[in-house]
């Protein structure tokens, strides 16, 4: 997993809670990397799980909620740091539609070793979109946070339903988004 996911997570923890809590979860998680992350490095995805679990224990918020909150936070960072990635997209649907073909392609160009999830758009009407998240990992909650933040970025309220699909190793989740 790319280092940016870790550095942004720790920034969020420091910002929203405190550097002391960040330090605490870093110590408690007993991370192979020692918790020294750089955005351009690559680390075991298990470490983010450990960190989120530790945070959950410390502040007593469920892990899925934390992942969703982090997803939303992460989207804000993406928009601020890589505004060009949104390109000419005029709506959340546009961004989601172009996720695999545009954004992930850019990521792969910079980081050929990046392991990215797939977002397949199954159906799209002006008011509704169905897409399937598919990953070797289990970060559907993170994805949901990102999707919600994306809607908010365009001033759109999305009613989101999730359905977990059968998957061999990893996860497949159907997101149905309805524009309110």
């Amino acid at each position: 997993m790319k280092g940016i996911v870790f550095t942004q997570f720790l920034e969020m923890v420091e910002e929203r809670y405190s550097p002391a809590i960040a330090d605490r979860i870093l110590l408690a998680a007993q991370l192979p990397s020692g918790g020294a992350y750089t955005a351009v490095g690559t680390y075991d995805h298990g470490e983010i799980w450990s960190l989120v679990c530790e945070l959950s224990k410390v502040i007593d918020v469920p892990v899925p909620d934390l992942f969703r909150a982090y997803g939303e936070y992460l989207f804000g960072h993406f928009v601020a740091a890589y505004p060009h990635c949104l390109g000419s997209a005029a709506s959340a649907f546009d961004v989601l539609q172009g996720l695999d073909s545009m954004i992930h392609r850019e990521v792969c160009r910079l980081y050929p070793d990046a392991e990215l999830p797939r977002f397949d758009v199954i159906e799209r009407t002006p008011h509704q979109m169905t897409l399937i998240y598919q990953s070797a990992r289990h970060f559907a909650d993170l994805a949901e946070g990102l999707i919600r933040a994306c809607g908010r970025h365009f001033g759109q309220t999305l009613a989101l339903t999730r359905e977990t699909l059968a998957a061999e190793g990893g996860s497949r989740v159907r997101f149905t988004l309805a524009l309110q």
Binding site: T7, S18, A20, G35, A36, A39
Partner: protein, 453 residues
């Protein structure tokens, strides 16, 4: 979200705890920085290596391009050299063939003038006609190889295109009449009288195209049209026929060397297959282009366009082509010759030497013309119908009150007895047929010297 209580605690123990957190944080940041630096260094190294590889690749490509270019240049030089050598060889060999060929032709002509059986006559005719085809071919090859080696320079003298077209149609009217074809020419009224160009080469182009048109037309007409185009900036010349046409798939190769519509054409129609290639080169040499449109079995139109550079009319009506024979121009010459081929040969030779002559077809006509006009030189054939050369000479010499011309016998052979008879009849000199231009030039020089012209 509110900060946890540890943040706000102010006890010394907390301070040291906070200090520890900070130190750990700094330590993590330091390690992260080192990782990032290491990554950066690795990436830099990768980039540097990739760059080196690209540079090496580029250098290799450049080397290969250089090598290929040099090889191509070498190949090109070899090809050019061999082409030039080929062209020179062709020119030399053509010239070497032409000389004895002329002699063969001359002898065949002489042979035909002797008493022959019908069979022998047939053989001799074949020798002559085949010889002429061969000579035409050699001349064309020589012409073409000269053009290809850039040895042909085109004149830029005043040319009267109407005169050129008239001359061509007149020259070929006999051939057209034989095939009962109408040969017409139309030079549009707006075409100016004089252009700057090469009259001989223009005539050659027209002769080729019109000659071809007549050759490949069995019924109907051949038309020559000359118009101006693009505000009189171009001269467009068309030669239209109602002949057999050219199959569409053969049109493209028409202007190539040795390209005839099919090889059977050579057998049926003769020709060297070089005429159109020569036309194309000449037209292009003049800065123009030539195209052809044809409908199989309906007719063909050759069109060539050349830049029309207007010119003043020439100051002299007949500009002397050479400095030497200029004096001879003033000399009046009469050619007495019954054989049309010999007429043509002598006339064209005289023309080449910058002279011109009147023509008498037999001795009687010669006497008539010689006594009516003051000639400086008479070229007199010996054997002719109605009145032979010796009788005519005696008659001219017997006529009083005229300026006596110099009379040169055109003898078929150089037997002493013939010469004696010529001198006895009052002739001044001899010229053995077939004669060379240089020999004729000598006779012309003698006249010029004698008349002081």
């Amino acid at each position: 979200m509110s900060n946890p209580p540890e943040q706000t605690a102010a006890a010394p123990a907390s301070v040291s705890a906070e200090m520890e957190i900070l130190l750990r944080r700094v330590e993590r940041e330091r390690r992260a920085r080192k990782q990032a630096e290491q990554l950066l260094e690795n990436k830099s190294m990768e980039l540097y290596e990739a760059n080196q590889r690209l540079q090496a690749h580029a250098a290799e490509l450049e080397r290969v391009v250089h090598e290929r270019t040099r090889a191509l240049e070498q190949a090109l030089t070899v090809v050019e050299e061999s082409l030039r050598a080929k062209g020179e060889f062709l020119a030399v060999i053509s010239h070497e063939i032409r000389t004895p060929m002329n002699e063969v032709l001359g002898m065949a002509q002489l042979l035909l003038m002797t008493q022959l059986t019908e069979e022998q006559q047939g053989y001799a005719e074949t020798i002559r006609s085949s010889g002429e085809i061969l000579l035409a071919l050699i001349n064309d090859i020589l012409d073409l190889s000269k053009m290809e080696s850039g040895k042909v320079t085109l004149d830029a003298r005043p040319v009267n295109v109407r005169a050129v077209v008239n001359e061509v149609t007149q020259l070929l009217s006999g051939q057209a009449q034989e095939k009962k074809l109408a040969l017409r020419s139309l030079v549009a009224p707006e075409v100016p009288a004089w252009f700057r160009g090469d009259a001989t080469r223009l005539k050659q182009i027209f002769l080729n195209l019109v000659g071809n048109a007549i050759k490949f037309t069995h019924k109907g007409s051949v038309r020559v049209e000359v118009v101006t185009m693009d505000n009189a900036g171009w001269l467009e010349c068309r030669v239209k026929d109602t002949g057999i046409g050219i199959p569409p798939d053969r049109v493209g190769r028409l202007f190539e060397k040795f390209s005839q519509v099919d090889s059977s054409i050579t057998r049926r129609y003769g020709g060297t297959g070089l005429g159109l290639a020569i036309c194309k080169r000449l037209v292009e040499g003049m800065g123009g282009n030539i195209t052809v449109e044809s409908k199989h079995y309906q007719g063909t139109t050759f069109t060539f366009r050349i830049p029309a550079i207007p010119s003043e009319a020439p100051r002299e009506v007949r500009p002397p082509p050479q400095a030497g024979p200029r004096r001879v121009l003033q000399a009046r010459i009469l050619l007495v010759e019954d054989n049309p081929v010999n007429q043509m040969l002598a006339m064209s030779m005289l023309q080449k030497l910058g002279a011109s002559a009147d023509l008498a077809k037999d001795g009687a006509e010669a006497v008539e013309k010689a006594t009516a006009g003051a000639y400086d030189l008479i070229l007199m054939d010996l054997q002719m119908p109605r009145m032979d050369g010796l009788t005519a000479t005696r008659a001219i010499r017997a006529t009083g009150g005229i300026r006596q011309p110099r009379i040169v016998a055109l003898t078929a052979n150089a037997m002493d007895s013939d010469r004696e008879a010529c001198v006895a009849a009052g002739m001044d000199d001899f010229l053995s047929k077939p004669f060379q231009a240089s020999e004729l030039q000598e006779k012309l020089d003698a006249v010029a010297a004698a008349t002081g012209a």
